[in-house]
Amino acid sequence: MPTTELTRTPTRKQPRTLRPSDSLAGLLAKIILLGLVDAFAVYVLIVLFLQEKWAVLVLAAGVTLLINWIYLRRGGLPAKYLAPGVFFLLIFQVFVMVFSGYVAFTNYGDGHNSTKEDAIAAIQSAAQQRVPDSPAYRVTILEQDNEFHFLATDPDGGVSIGSAEEPLEEVSNAATDGTGKATGLDGYRTLQFNEVLANQADILALSVPFSDDPDDGTLKTSDGSTAYVFSPTLEYDEAADTFTDTETGTTYADSGQGTFVSEDGEELSTGWKIDVGFANFAKAFTDENIRGPLLEVTLWTFTFALVSVLSTFALGLFLANAFNLPNLRGKKIYRILMILPYAFPAFLAGLVWSGLLNPEFGYVNNTFFGGANIPWLTDPLLAKFSVLLVNLWLGFPYMFLVCTGALQSLPEDVNEAARMDGAGPWKIFTSIKLPLLLVSVAPLLIASFAFNFNNFNVIYMLTDGGPRLPDTTVNVGATDILITLVYEVAFGSGVGRDYGLASALSIVIFFIVAAISIISFRQTKALEEIH
């Protein structure tokens, strides 16, 4: 609290002086840090202002003022410590969760990617098709009274001029360059390339009627130097909010599902994002593709998570115990070796192991099983076993680390007392060490369960959920867990990705994991009370 310190007179002795006094360096650091934060905030505010995002602008301004208030006022020390953490929590956790929650109520995904305006613009742009066999015009952009004109040279050398209001009209007095391309006209100013670029939005939007008959199409350019005659295959009627096919007369109206649909159900290619309420959740629980294999997948998910936690914990604990012997030589080297798999990225390990477990060419079969053709990853039962085994290999170092730390913090005298009372090593381990250990390790086991419940990497990279279950229409396999099922359903098997459905399913999984965690944490409290 440098400001308080500096303004305080020596006579005002208060209990606060017991705190270490703030230095000038501290004050400077504070000014610089706050200055940087404010500079960044102002920059962000300007960007938001230019993009006309008013709601976010007000929010950002409010947050900036709040931060300044927290750090410039006297007192309120807890707020000063908490503010950065809360700020980042809001941005990186709460915002992300709220956003996925929001997505779950939309049809966001392939085909519904942006706003309706964007979709209309995209359909209109795709509908502009070049009139077949129409010539290419070389154009020069002219300007007169702030209006742009095309000076178009046709392949035969004829020159015409036109603008958005005036259809193309032939002129004879144009200046031409060596190739015969018209480059200027009296009374008009020729735009240089950099001027064309600076006004590209207007020039790209410029469409010059080819003649008085609108059916002849319009001349448009996309690079400022060549123009073609385009005519739209679809026309948008703003008042009715419909597209009409210029050839067949079919109208496409807003279907309410984020697409334009004709009466016979034909959709225009580009759609937009709309809110769909609980439709995604309804689909999650009623879709045959999900419901069919759901029971099997849920059971396997629980088995996978539970067995993974127990097996890694058992192995980690055993090794931690073994390498905790006081008179073991080379302990450090062993410990480093133990931790190596932990340093391996899980997705890479998945790929490497899927190579090692190849039935015919894999190292495991060739070296340990004398070339036997054991289908590690393609037999439903063996694949489950392999997934668990690889996850054990990946996961035990973490448990080893945790248990080593916990074991070393156990008081030695308890062991000694037990030994004096005649307890054997096994008795000491089960009755004294393990209960003491569980107090500190149990929350980590719960976290590990939650992690393995959603352990996407191992499954996806090792087996990709396979081998596929027979008799299902959805692409679900024997080793698929809930999160890989979500991935498959939302991204892998339809005609495109469906972020809305994926978010809805993730939220359902979140509630499952949260419920299990809450129950387990209650249980561990009971554990502490015993202690």
Binding site: N113, S114, Q200, D202, S222, D223, R468, N475, S493, V495
Partner: protein
Amino acid sequence: MKVQTPRLLTRRTLATAAMSVAVLAMTACGGGSTESATGESAAPTNLAEGGSTTLTMWVDAERAPALENIAASFEEDTGIAIDLAVKDFAAVRDDFITQVPTGNGPDLIVGPHDWIGTFVENGVVAPIELGDKASEFQESAIQAMSYEGNLYGVPYAIENIALLRNADLVPEPVGTFDEVVKNGEAAVEAGEAEFPFLVGLDPKQADPYHMYPFQTSMGVPVFAQNEDGSYDASKLLLGEPNGVEFAKKLVEWGDAGSGILNSNITGDIAKEKFNAGESPYFLTGPWNVGAAQEAGINVAVDPLPTVGDQPAQPFIGVNGYFISAQSSNALAANEFVVNYLTTEEAQDAMFEVGGRPPALTASFEKAASDPIVEAFGEIGANGVPMPSVPEMQAVWADWGSTQLALIKGSAKPEEAWPAMVKNIEQKISAG
């Protein structure tokens, strides 16, 4: 003109303030992302004012160096810099789709043509008018880049698979797959090779892409094609009566039969074995030729062998450049793509880095002095574009897992193939 208001305002009020630098930079970048609502212009006092000076292009690490020269000459001519942003190829398609609507996407992106259907569905890509330049490209490349009557990308390379032959083991090319198998098995019996034939299969998904020439040769394409070569996604042809015949062939070649197809042989293993001289044949693309030659294999490129009485047509993939539908610098982007990236120089440079046959006919003819490129090109001319319709995404998973089950002999052709067709049809109609 939404653009003009803040620019004038900031110029008046903040001209001397230190932050005006940032503001001007902002207007420059943010300027065009707000599109003009009408064709009218609001009193352009100084026509050269504003406008972006940079085009951003998303490109993968391999292709970026090849584009540097052409980008430099574009900057020299127009004063517009091309920012070649290197992105991870695996994620770039989805990032493009999600970022374009936010206004933060790039102006240009490099990728294969089968992204187009999804791009159009999401409204993120703008049509391109090549005009007469289109005739300078190979027809199949232009056809692949077209979607619903528009051209959406400027192609630069065509790729397709062919049958690589180790000419030291089998000196002469043959026409049918039966002969290939016979030659291969003869080489194995003679102790010269270990595998009669190699193709990389994914142990999880098999590989319908590499199997496709066999399938087309038996008259089983994925979708019907319209007259202009585009695909009609409402007509799935996998279920034609010949589909089951093809499925029977897979069983015959698989674990339960001759073992010509081995689902344990992944792409990497197949490459390794062919390069070690352990097989006379390897069904793969131009991307594996260089390594085989370096390994000392006398590589010959043979036409795809036929199984049925129709030509064996591979899928062709066409790589090209696409323009974002919301580019704030669309005119410059069009200028670069249409007038610079279509040049022989630009197409040659991309060939040198990727080794894939160029899409521009003039560049291709130069590259075809290499017999390998020429052979791949000839086979590609016989191919069909990989469907770019979004419905294709519903096909891959079932197609692959059914082929895998057939190859492993764990499914009956008469049941598995029709079930697969039914599944895919359901997914497409639900999509």
